[in-house]
Symmetry: C2
Subunit: 100 residues, 2 copies
């Protein structure tokens, strides 16, 4: 299996998480028809009121790399950027389990 998973931890500026998650949900709708996107789930942290985690899984690293050029998503990221304090990506190799 050469699928590619990424968790993206986004810390919003104080009070901006809801606005940010709305934009990310909009981005996920643009990715719905993108080839190779298997998971793109927007989650909010239960413990930290400023934090969002995105669960991404792609058919392979190439599908993920290609998605970074999606112009609709790029436009949304431009709008989201002023709401974000920090971004921390965690790169993973899925081995198996339920939901692959």
């Amino acid at each position: 299996m050469d699928k590619y998973t990424m968790y993206g931890k986004l810390t919003a500026l104080p009070g901006k998480r809801e606005e940010l998650s709305t934009l990310l949900l909009e981005a996920s709708r643009c990715l719905r028809h993108v080839d190779g996107c298997e998971l793109y789930i927007i989650n909010e942290s239960v413990e930290d009121p400023d934090v969002i985690w995105i669960t991404e899984m792609w058919r392979d690293t190439e599908a993920h790399a290609e998605s970074l050029h999606n112009t609709e998503v790029l436009a949304i990221i431009q709008r989201a950027r002023p709401l974000i304090a920090t971004i921390e990506p965690i790169r993973l190799r899925p081995l198996g389990g339920i939901g692959l």
Copy 2:
């Protein structure tokens, strides 16, 4: 939506990650028929050679709580415990996206 997501970060003792991931894949096979388990993916970190992240998503917190009593899974956790240095859970509320 009241689904429940958890990322579990497991740091294996040095050199024990592969043995640990084999046990976790075995646990995931026990969960395949458990009601309400929607994602249970075992991932290894690309950057850290000792780290495994489990992506879990459950229909609701009750389904997750009930799964903690699964005797087959508990038996596997007993075998896995000596391989684990630390466990850090991250509790999340999924809001939407692809793969829900």
